[in-house]
Symmetry: C2
Subunit: 422 residues, 2 copies
């Protein structure tokens, strides 16, 4: 059977991005004392194990307060349920309160994390011959989802202010010239992973115009939007032409354990029976074939967070927002303090978990191994985020999961490495 | 945007099986007083809302007992985690205790329900030109998963004793003659959905021989195996040639709310770096692109059930097993009591949730609508389980979710309908 499977698995299951991420995990495992500027996971200091059960109780208590009988409460959290979930109304209220996004609850589909929301959206909307445009460098989750579904991705190079809408139009035209159809653009407008860039407001309006002119949908992914200095309006809040599908995550604003995300697809469509319905409803067919429905237990936990916060994660996250902003400032200050001129430069994001450092040194896996082994610090080569090559002299720095002291020490070690190699 | 999306969605997202299931849900919604012999969900009488939080506490308590510190306990249930899950060791122990399946824990991947296990397995193993063989009639989850991934399905007609291994070989040869490759066979050997059939032991051995001779993998799906009179050895327990990938669900043996399932893939493979590893590990790449990892909260709840039961769901389910056996006997007895000769015949499954009734009456959606509206009983046309046509004169009866009294009354109503229509 080894021989039977050997050739099969290569080049299909094995993916360069996955291989890169595996390599990072291995390095972290091999050098457990190295401080990680690679991990983009949220800081755990705000978490308490007992909160999980408490949120569950808050949500079931909320159902009972609504006059829902014990039998239905039990059914809600323990039985199979509605494909698009049961906390969609709370999510819709949260979007209205926090983001000024006003959509009917039925336009919200609760998903098994944002990753499933991406897979559902791509599978539901893309036909053979369709191409996904994506900011380059790009979050590995979307390129992974596209790969699983054999959807080609056309990179749109990002500048210091994020995507240039004119460049989006150029790439769309180039794709169209090959006979393919540019179906949608994926981007993280607020504090992108990996660059930390935030799309300026005028560009948001321009991008929506380009989407209309080029007949593109926009997949707006927003895991970090809360964690910034100046909130910009979401593309979905500016979307008068139903061009935007909004992809949401609770991993950072609540915690990752439940694995709950969502998509907002309020586009009016006509179903197979000729009835007018919402795109989110039609996409539920895809969801039913991937995971049937999102874990009811997990939804109840996130429901508890939403109920307890009055459906404002912006309010509930005040301390986390302050923490992440302090960490980002700390990262940028430490870079200034420890890195001599000529050794590196870096961008100055206005929020989020990431910044990018550029250096004349070749930031490859060999340097990373040396860094972990001899300097006790781990980071992510930016080349991991360019499936078609690029980023060879850049490093993604993540400041989300460390205490301020560890963050400072990590940058000191990184500076030592880069100074020695320069 | 309506026009933009209208044509796109049809024939791709909209799926005949999904349309059928939607129709069933609509009928159930429109006639809420009709008793449902259609719903295959588990009986809720065994559930208590407060058990969810309790199982969570049992699992975290178990971790602490193992000497795991509070910080790691918190990280386990609240943070991102290992792609293939963290209760894989408990699942492996359960498989050894309950089923005599002995595999290393690393061969178990915990998934977002069994549905995701199917998608992962198909995506990981199938190339263009590969065909999935599946018992016909067939569980809609696997045909849905194949559809999402554009994998063609070749039906293998089932007889009263389930699949005939010689027929599997014939269909495999026929597929091969078209230039395609029969890659794997999907089946539910114990109390299949929809037929309730159980594969006799000699046929299990024959099927494994056919798999070897025809170079097929076997996907053994086992959601109902616990609920029978005579447990037969699983194909995976007889699998000396690493031909079988076992697909498991906790929806019936625990409860559906967590949405936790698993796959067992202990096949030895060689990874991209040339290292020997297990297929489950290689499949984790696919999983990472679908859902990143299975809900940690949900895993902890199922972990609690496993810990509390000493990793024997067979022991933990004694009452449920008795209940479902009583319900199945009750269903079969009621059929005998209420249905006059010539109006219908039915099979006599030895366990599980389902039985199939055959009738000269055409059991289509029109009859179903009449049945719900005028006779107050809902059931599933068997034609829903034949994507390529068939089952026009058969009905799937589910006995899992009703009390014995409701079950009896439902059969009485069904008999009235069929007698009137004959």
């Amino acid at each position: 059977v080894v021989d039977l499977l050997r050739e099969e698995l290569h080049g299909s299951v094995t993916d360069p991005v996955a291989a890169s991420m595996n390599f990072l995990n291995e390095i972290a495992g091999r050098y457990p004392d190295a401080i990680s500027l690679a991990a983009g996971r949220p800081y755990e200091g705000f978490y308490r194990t007992e909160d999980v059960g408490r949120y569950l109780d808050v949500y079931t208590g909320y159902l009972r307060q609504q006059g829902i009988g014990e039998e239905r409460v039990r059914r809600t959290v323990m039985q199979y349920g509605r494909t698009n979930g049961f906390i969609h109304d709370l999510v819709a209220r949260m979007l209205a309160v926090d983001e000024g996004i006003h959509v009917p609850a039925d336009a919200v589909a609760v998903t098994t994390g944002c990753q499933e929301a991406m897979v559902i959206t791509l599978r539901g909307l893309f036909r053979p011959g369709d191409v996904l445009l994506a900011a380059a460098p790009c979050y590995v989750g979307i390129t992974g989802a596209a790969r699983i579904l054999d959807i080609p991705v056309a990179p749109v190079p990002e500048g210091p202010d994020g995507l240039d809408p004119a460049e989006v139009a150029r790439v769309a035209a180039r794709v169209r010239a090959t006979g393919a159809r540019p179906r949608a653009l994926y981007l993280v407008p607020d504090f992108a992973n990996p660059t930390g860039s935030q799309l300026p407001v005028p560009r948001r309006h321009q991008l929506l115009r380009v989407a209309r002119d080029e007949d593109l949908l926009i997949l707006e992914d927003d895991p970090y939007g809360l964690f910034g200095v100046t909130p910009h309006p979401k593309l979905k809040a500016l979307d008068t032409d139903q061009r935007v599908i909004y992809l949401g995550s609770f991993a950072k604003s609540c915690f990752p354990g439940p694995r709950v995300g969502f998509l907002v697809a309020d586009q009016a469509v006509v179903d197979a029976a000729g009835r007018r319905t919402l795109l989110a409803h039609e996409l539920s067919t895809v969801k039913s074939m991937l995971t049937v429905n999102t874990s009811a237990v997990a939804q109840a936990v996130i429901g508890g967070v939403l109920v307890e916060s009055g459906c404002s994660l912006r309010a509930a996250n005040r301390d986390k927002i302050a923490f992440y902003r302090r960490n980002l400032s700390g990262l940028l200050a430490a870079l200034g303090r420890y890195l001599p001129a000529g050794v590196a430069s870096w961008n100055v994001p206005a929020g989020g978990f990431f910044a990018v450092l550029s250096t004349p040194v070749r930031a490859d896996v060999e340097l990373l191994t040396t860094s972990a082994r001899e300097y006790g610090v781990i980071w992510t080569p930016m080349s991991f985020f360019y499936p078609d090559g690029g980023g060879e002299h850049a490093i993604r720095l993540s400041c989300s999961s460390l205490t301020p002291d560890d963050l400072d020490e990590a940058v000191r070690r990184l500076a030592k490495l880069l100074t020695a190699m320069s």
